[in-house]
Symmetry: C2
Amino acid sequence: MQQVIDFISGFIQVSEAELHFIADNLQYTSFKKGEILLQQGQIPNKLSFVIKGAVRGYYTDENGMEHTLGFAFENHPLGAFDSFTQQMPIGFTGCALENTDTIWISQSAFYRFLETYPRYEKVVRTIISQYMTLEGEKTKLLRIISSKERYRALLETQPELIQRVPLKYIASYLGITIETLSRIRAKR
Amino acid sequence: MQQVIDFISGFIQVSEAELHFIADNLQYTSFKKGEILLQQGQIPNKLSFVIKGAVRGYYTDENGMEHTLGFAFENHPLGAFDSFTQQMPIGFTGCALENTDTIWISQSAFYRFLETYPRYEKVVRTIISQYMTLEGEKTKLLRIISSKERYRALLETQPELIQRVPLKYIASYLGITIETLSRIRAKR
DNA sequence: CTCATTTTTTGACAATTATCAAATTCCAGA
DNA sequence: TCTGGAATTTGATAATTGTCAAAAAATGAG
């Protein structure tokens, strides 16, 4: 709860009434490692926030291959803003990499909140924009031709990933094979 | 002008008053092929809409290499929603591929409009979300390992690109060399 | 702590792709 | 219509990366 408030406070000064509303409408769910938090193809009905743990987002293509799209750690919302806003099927599955605790608000409560406190529209727009910027950074990363350079760029921008995420998912995230990643890492 | 209204009408029923406001605050700028519409690093002060022509978005990396990030054709807004909202430097340069006409609204007018007609907050959120979904599709495309498959996927999802955009930019967009693209195309 | 399972590494080889060079085709402006 | 520069293609070669197989290391459940 405090973590959610801290997150929002980074964008706007939260009033007592707003605090109350939020407190009254948050729910808590805990997931064990390996459990699914979000299923590709489902239409989202809540907005989640990771308070502890780590989640991997991936999508399964026509050939049944999994492609890792990203990760969410504590103090970050759990993606899918676009599907949430548009009420469209989520484009990825979220799976807990570790035991993970989340806090969430139902879609109806979320929109009630926005209607009651419209000044948060701008906050939401800003948050979505920030995640859009991140998404843009990802496509820039993927356009780096050499695998070695891609890995180096990831090390520079998100060193914490390598500590916390199994290498096979890092490889998948970078769009290379596990073996290639292993060899890149072996050379110093 | 009509094109902008049509675009917005896809999201919401536009009232007379709103129409008036929009008409009073739109400006027109025309660009010759090769001219820069948007410069990487600048902070955006307007929101543009392409009414005719085509624009290529690219960023220049530390080594001075250009990487094509996307294209905007007629009846589409000219990206950078994230930078616009956050007032941060734009992450790419927009260059006219053809003679291009744009219509735009200044940032101040845009925010005045949103304050006057707050029901458009939801529209803006939806539009941003849609472009976020597109950005997500791009990263999915780029994670396809084989160049051949990447090209095939592009052909399927955006065949119009190949008709209208010089191949060297398509190659850059797909993250492969011009020669490789040429050879992929040569084989049927 | 032990054992089974998963993850990561390593090796050999094949396929893909980048690089460099040159030829050819295309296109815009004179 | 002609022409020079840009875009695309083609060729030869080297480097990178994927694939398959197996070994080694790490992890977790009991």
